[in-house]
Amino acid sequence: MILRRGQKVEIYKKSKDESWEDYMDNFVGLHGVVTDPDTTKNDPDALIEVSLHGKGTHRFPQDCLRVLEE
């Protein structure tokens, strides 16, 4: 899964990554838009910037993201 700017995504589960913080539990189920993917090398381990609908912009590990539409 290569994430691109502008793609709609869903936080569909909690991540097991160490960068996942407790307050992020409230974001599960929310939809958003990828605003800054890894612009260096498409690293699957990179944290991806996502703007969540009504909940601000945050960086997430990729294992909790699901693409909603191309």
């Binding site: 290569i2 700017r5 709609k8 160490e18 605003t35 993917p37 260096t40 944290l47 969540l52 009504g54």
Partner: protein
């Protein structure tokens, strides 16, 4: 989607229910409840001040003394006091930010653009001010949340535009470009000013790194009265803004002017001072700083790990290359340069090499153009300038002789099946090796943090990504009194994220120094103003299109570092600002559409942009075709975004300033009272035709119609009485 109810909104509802239930029997208690409800509604509507909470607490205490034993009194106290005890911060946040994060308090629902901005800028506010020609005020508004409006106007990745509701109709508002326009104007006209500073306090804060995160923290701390010292390795401020972003995207003067505004506030800058080399943490600690903020960025780089990489001076990394050029070196790196990597930094390095005179610049990337991580806009501009791309290519060895590079051995790849991460791995094609004729190699395959200087902080926790671990809402590290933000926490990230982190850290440091508890959730952006909407007729609102950014000619772009984006003209900027839908006022709840369609059966509102996930067609012009100006939509609008007004001989309907419909008014032919438009009158007449008598063809108000009808009845002769 998940949704939690706002505690202010919930308390207002619960108290209203209790009052309406009639359970509060004692008149005095009833009055007390109504008074408190009024105060709570103020908070929910954004008109509450700091005194509201103290009055509520005082009232609750008095009520408890007066009516403590009463069972209903206990319920009352439980509703208000219980909510305040458990969620006081939510009430305070409503008062301070004028935003309700859940959007339940309709008048305080934040606009998506503001919510998505990592710095939390009041976007609708400044767009409106720019639309009105008030550029300096727009910049003053922005600088309440971001000290770098000009820098961000040129290089921000603009998450706001991705969430812009206008994009659901056509294209997002050019928020970033409008900011650049206003900043340039304000600076040029002398209207770019610092905010007022609080009186000095005794606290001292040390900031390590003068990049966007460090400078932002310095700005807000010094405004708060702190004595701030900034340690910076470079001879000037700006960090990656200065040495990582090429001048054709961000002119040096822009950074210098905005950094100078921060210097003007009295921040003590110690330039040419590298942590761990020129000064140690131990030495800094001896200066008795109350808190530290680490914002050293990610200035180190990954190596390619191929033979020959370390053997020639013509093989350099992009970070060093860009820094050298930013600091004044204008030597051509080589006539034929190969740039390794497919990200934004690779594009920056390639375009910079071209401007320095390299005759042939080739970006070598192991996958295809579709997989390139660089932004589409950057790739397009590089292609325009004549940068070559060698896709599906992996460098395997740098060749050279006598200390000079003379070729890069590469191998062709093909994309294999998707791996577990969903990416198609590039697989080398056997026997496809070939020599690329080049004399310079610039690698741009990623950055990392250089932790030298931070090693003595042995209680600092590092992540497996080699970044500092912080608590996101307040940027607090595991080392007491030490905060961190920007790339050193996120890895290479965006300018506006660094600014947001600096702002959060400044607030957290202030709390730390004053002994106030830290927030547990990310901050709620502050609504700075609720400005009146600009009026724009619906056809204009639909016809206005996002202007294309004028660019420097390609010929000149290839040979100079002049800014590529030339900026909007005044007319372009003002017109673009008028496209804004003012989502800080209209919360897209859909009540107007439902009432018009389901209750009035008119269906005059084609507002398909309301839904985030499934927007459908929007056309503001349709309203004028069907709308009867009954006002049902405006009456039921929870935020006042939909307004209906009589102006002279017209009735006008507006949604956040967009004039959806305007019709001539009719007047009672007997008394002259306003009746509404003919279309409305016809609609009503048709609806009541079967149940009410018509009074000829006259247009009459209700009062006159009643009188006329009574007159008709009086004229009817009673039946003759039989003798």
């Amino acid at each position: 989607m998940t949704h939690s109810t706002c505690k202010v909104f919930e308390t207002v509802n619960n108290l209203t229910y209790l009052i309406d239930s009639g359970r509060l029997i004692r008149p005095r208690l009833q009055q007390r409840a109504k008074d408190l409800l009024k105060l709570l509604k103020d908070i929910s509507l954004g008109t509450g001040g700091p005194a509201h909470l103290s009055v509520i607490f005082k009232s609750l205490a008095e009520i408890q003394i007066e009516h403590g034993s009463d069972e209903t009194c206990m319920a009352f106290i439980q509703i208000v006091g219980g909510a305040l005890d458990a969620h006081k911060e939510v009430f305070v946040s409503h008062i301070e930010t004028h935003n309700c994060p859940t959007g339940d308090c309709a008048k305080l629902a934040p606009a998506p653009c503001q919510t998505s901005c990592p710095a939390g800028i009041d976007v609708p506010g400044y767009i409106t001010l720019i639309g009105q020609g008030r550029d300096a005020e727009a910049i003053e508004l922005i600088r309440k949340d971001n000290p770098f409006p000009w820098v961000c106007g040129l290089v921000c990745t603009h998450p706001c535009e991705f969430m812009c509701v206008r994009a659901r109709i056509d294209t997002p508002i050019a928020i970033r470009d409008l900011k650049a326009f206003a900043a340039e104007r304000a600076m040029s006209e002398g209207g770019y000013k610092n905010l007022d500073k609080d009186p000095d306090n005794e606290n001292k804060v040390c900031i390590i790194g003068a990049g966007p995160a460090g400078l932002t923290a310095a700005y807000y701390l010094v405004l708060n009265g702190y004595k701030v010292t900034v340690i910076e390795a470079l001879p000037y401020g700006g960090g990656m803004l200065m040495v990582g972003i090429p001048r054709y995207r961000l002119p040096r003067e822009v950074i210098d002017r905005e950094v100078a505004m921060i210097e003007e506030l009295g921040v003590d800058f110690r330039y040419n001072t590298r942590l761990g080399v020129d000064v140690t943490l131990e030495q800094l600690k001896k200066e008795e700083f109350d808190a530290f903020f680490i914002a050293i960025g990610a200035h180190s780089f990954f190596k390619m790990g191929i033979p020959g990489e370390e053997d020639f001076p013509q093989v350099i990394d992009a970070i060093t290359f860009l820094r050298r050029i930013a600091m004044g070196d204008r030597h051509m790196p080589g006539k034929r340069a190969a740039i390794i990597g497919g990200g934004n930094v690779a594009i920056d390095a390639a375009r910079t090499a071209l401007r320095l005179g390299s005759e042939e610049v080739t970006i070598v990337y192991r996958r295809t153009r579709v997989e390139m991580p660089a932004s589409e806009e950057e790739i397009y501009q590089a292609e325009e300038e004549g940068i070559n791309f060698s896709f599906l290519t992996i460098p395997i060895e740098v060749h050279g002789s006598d200390g000079m590079v003379n070729g890069l051995r590469c191998t062709r790849t093909e994309l294999g099946p998707e791996d577990e991460s969903g990416r198609r791995r590039p697989i080398p094609v056997k026997g496809s090796d070939y020599m690329m004729d080049i004399d310079t190699v610039i690698s741009a395959i990623g950055q990392e943090i250089d932790p030298i200087g931070l090693i003595p902080l042995d209680d600092l926790q590092w992540s497996r990504r080699k970044t500092i671990v912080v608590h996101g809402p307040n940027m607090e590290t595991t080392s007491p009194g030490v905060f961190a933000g920007g790339d050193v926490v996120l890895g290479p990230a965006t300018v506006v994220e660094a600014i947001g982190a600096g702002k959060k850290a400044a607030d957290a440091i202030d709390r730390y120094c004053r002994g106030i508890p830290q927030p547990t959730l990310p901050p709620v952006p502050v609504r700075r103003q609720r400005l009146d909407c600009q009026e724009v007729p619906a056809p204009t609102k639909m016809a206005l299109h996002r202007p294309e950014m004028p660019l420097l000619g390609t010929e000149r772009r290839r040979i100079t570092f002049q800014q590529v984006e030339l900026g909007y003209t005044e007319n372009m900027a003002r017109e673009e600002a008028r496209r804004c839908l003012r989502c800080d006022i209209c919360i897209r709840c859909g009540t107007c559409v439902e009432i018009c369609r389901d209750k009035m059966k008119i269906n005059a509102l084609q507002l398909g942009y309301f839904d985030f996930d499934h927007p459908v067609e929007t056309d503001f012009r349709v309203t004028a075709e069907k709308c009867i100006l009954c006002g049902a939509c405006a009456t039921n609008c929870p935020t006042g975004a939909m307004k209906m007004e009589d102006r002279g001989d017209e009735r006008v309907l507006m949604l956040s300033g967009t004039i959806l419909n305007r019709l001539k008014l009719e007047y009672c032919q007997l008394c002259g009272a306003v009746l509404g438009p003919a279309r409305y009158h016809d609609y009503i007449t048709k609806r009541i035709d079967d149940i009410s008598q018509r009074i000829g063809d006259k247009r009459l108000c209700v009062e006159c119609a009643r009188k006329a009808l009574a007159q008709q009845h009086a004229e009817i002769a009673p039946p003759a009485v039989r003798e």
